[in-house]
């Protein structure tokens, strides 16, 4: 395989809280290839957003520490890069869109003001050129009547339109990597479908890599090429999207897939995972999914299970299930 565009290695993130330092992320490794779309899926508290924020170092430096790990982006370790180097990458090389477009937009600036800020800063465009480019970008994200909309304030736009504005801002400098953190969670289903469609087309047109973070396996299935499943701060399974749905190895992945309410199922009850996700302050030795797992064995409770390969592109943190698969294959 070629050199990946972004390579996260053994990332560990800790936050300071009233009860001391707690671990939010434990030993996360993830690669994103050139032009590839990687999905990170997990429930609240799984650490998927913390992973994304770490890439751009958007944490509060006072209450966060990163005791180990490295994030390599084209030869630069983002975790150790200086502020000036980081500023050249943020917004230009790697851009990010968030879940709630309203709180990410400045309510007292017009759409044009906010998008052109990026263009002026990174590309040094003058006012008139920047404005022209803003209108182009708004048309690119399919906002009707772009030149008039550019002068609107965010409150005049619907949720879907605001998310389009966020996307326009993110792609303004043609980034190589777009991090989309739950980009459609706050939107209605039909608008969600439109925004996903748009992201798909933009990816093709601009050839950028995407990290898509979501709790919705449906969105993952429709959008991602490769998937990392996170649970309680750890990646528990990684696989190409087809393999993940056809042959989920980790019991948590399997549970998540089964819990999606289907449109074609006649069942009156939904398949559920018993129990709940542990908080970062709850110290669970061994596998953190153990207390909810039907496959749990004595060894699972002792030490954190290692990530083991199942095939050349799929791996999981579940020795009993991986061993069971090996037996089946033999």
């Amino acid at each position: 395989m070629n050199q990946p565009l972004l390579s996260i290695r053994n990332l560990t993130v800790e936050f300071h809280t009233d009860s001391g330092w707690i671990q939010a992320i434990d030993d996360v490794s993830l690669d994103v290839g050139e032009g590839e779309c990687v999905g990170i899926v997990g429930e609240s508290g799984s650490g998927k957003s913390v992973t994304a924020l770490s890439i751009l170092r958007l944490h509060d430096p006072v209450t966060t520490r990163l005791p180990s790990g490295a994030i390599d982006y084209r030869g630069t370790d983002l975790l150790r890069a200086r502020g000036s180097a980081l500023r050249k990458i943020r917004g230009r090389e790697i851009a990010m869109i968030f879940q709630d477009p309203m709180s990410s937009l400045n309510p007292v600036l017009t759409i044009a003001d906010q998008i052109s800020e990026t263009l002026r800063r990174h590309q040094g465009l003058d006012g008139a050129t920047a404005r022209k480019r803003v209108v182009e970008l708004l048309s690119l994200v399919r906002i009707p009547d772009a030149s008039r909309r550019a002068d609107d304030y965010p409150h005049r736009l619907s949720g879907g339109m605001r998310q389009r504005v966020m996307i326009a801002m993110a792609i303004a400098c043609r980034p190589r990597l777009l991090i989309a953190d739950e980009p459609t969670t706050a939107l209605d289903v039909t608008v969600q479908a439109q925004v996903l469609d748009l992201l798909r087309e933009l990816r093709r047109e601009l050839g950028m890599s995407v990290i898509l973070i979501t709790h919705d396996l449906g969105v993952i299935a429709e959008f991602a090429e490769r998937v990392a499943v996170m649970y309680a701060g750890r990646v528990v399974e990684q696989a190409p999207v087809g393999a993940l749905f056809r042959q989920p190895v980790h019991p948590y992945t399997r549970g998540l897939i089964d819990a999606v309410p289907g449109l074609d199922s006649e069942a009156r009850r939904l398949t559920m995972i018993p129990g709940r996700i542990p908080g970062p302050q709850e110290m669970i030795p061994g596998c953190r999914f153990g207390p909810r797992c039907a496959w749990v064995q004595e060894d699972c409770r002792k030490a954190p299970p290692p990530m083991q390969p199942v095939s050349d592109r799929q791996s999981a943190r579940c020795p009993p299930r991986v061993a069971a698969l090996d037996v089946c294959d033999a």
Binding site: T190, Q192, A193, H215, V241, V260, P261, L263
Partner: protein, 337 residues
């Protein structure tokens, strides 16, 4: 003889005046809504933001007054001249479960006190009966008895929703409005709460109005489903029919828009546009600007909700000439190929 429905809504209209710099505008939140809910039944009410689904739920339990039309609960009209008296007579028989379990619990109130609040307000219970009831309710929703002394922040979202449900059941209601009860929860928690609601329905004979913003979750819980768009019901049918043979173009669009957990599924073309502003809704059929099968007539004439098969009603001009009312045959809807 059939038992009369426990909820009967006729021609419900709701207009909210909206003040702004230029004066007052009229927001037409509900524009003629009709439906019934029979005992033991669950009506799944589905619609996107701005469809009016939450307004329907609130009107139904008397939280907001109607502008026009009638609402009968357990055979008593709560919107007529004696509406107030009728509502207080039936109030203990209905309850409401809100979307956000974080906002629905007082952070400074212990769980035991929160669950007992409706009992305390009713005021007719002895201390012992009250405490026994709280313990029984906790068990009913699958929470440990020790929760009584704890505070909401000690619980996860799913557990809080269990607490909210326990409180709603305190006075043995017969009808519960569940307004997006699982939308704020994670997937694995959603399934737990949906199954809990189903178990409770079986054990206690509850009827639900289950409000949701997409068609995926309501499939498991509903007996019948009504799809709302911009203040009106556009289609209502027994649960199965909505998924196997949707008749209204909007129902089809909603179904197509749900992302499938299947990487081999090819997404259907997405409908364009967004839900219109209810301050200035489109003429004729309110869905016409987004409809792929729009005809001239749709722009002028509001389609009426009319029978389109066994237990089904749809508001769409495409079905008007099909004559399905008499034959009960498959309606001649042009399936977009």
């Amino acid at each position: 003889m059939r038992e009369p429905p426990i909820v009967q809504v006729r021609g419900l209209r709701k207009i909210f005046p909206v003040k702004h710099a230029g004066g007052v505008s009229m927001l037409q939140a509900l524009n003629g809504v009709d439906f019934e809910i029979a005992r033991g039944e669950t009506l799944g009410l589905v619609g996107e933001s701005g469809s009016g689904k939450t307004t329907v739920g609130r009107v139904l339990v008397g939280l907001i007054p109607t502008t026009e039309g009638s609402v009968s609960l357990f055979g008593r009209d709560i919107t007529g001249r004696d509406g107030k008296a009728a509502l207080s007579a039936v109030r203990s028989r209905l309850q409401f479960v809100f979307q956000d379990p974080y906002a629905a619990l007082n952070p400074r109130m212990r769980i035991g006190a929160a669950i007992a609040e409706p009992i305390d307000i009713a005021g007719t219970w002895s201390r012992k009966d009250r405490n026994d009831r709280v313990a029984e309710l906790l068990e009913l929703v699958g929470l440990p008895r020790s929760s009584i002394e704890r505070f909401p922040h000690e619980f996860s979202g799913g557990q809080r929703q269990r607490i909210v449900i326990a409180r709603a059941l305190a006075l043995d209601p017969e009808f519960v409005v569940c307004d997006e009860p699982v939308s704020a929860l994670d997937v694995s928690m959603q399934a737990q709460i949906v199954n809990l609601l189903l178990d409770l329905q079986d054990r206690l004979g509850l009827s639900y109005l289950f409000i949701a913003h997409d068609l995926a979750v309501v499939r498991a819980v509903s007996t019948r489903i009504a799809v709302m768009y911009a203040g009106a019901i556009v289609e209502t049918a027994p649960r199965r029919d909505i998924y196997t043979n949707p008749q209204h173009p909007y129902t089809r669009a909603l179904l197509d828009a749900v992302p499938r957990a299947d990487p081999d599924h090819v997404p259907s073309p997405v409908i364009t546009g967004e839900v219109p502003s209810l301050l200035d809704p489109p003429s004729g059929c309110r869905f016409h600007p987004r409809c792929m099968q729009v005809m001239d007539r749709c722009r002028q004439e509001v389609p009426k909700l009319r029978s389109s098969g066994a237990g089904r009603r749809v508001a769409c001009h495409l079905l008007d000439d099909a004559g399905v009312e008499t034959t009960g045959a498959q309606p001649a809807v042009g399936q977009p190929s």
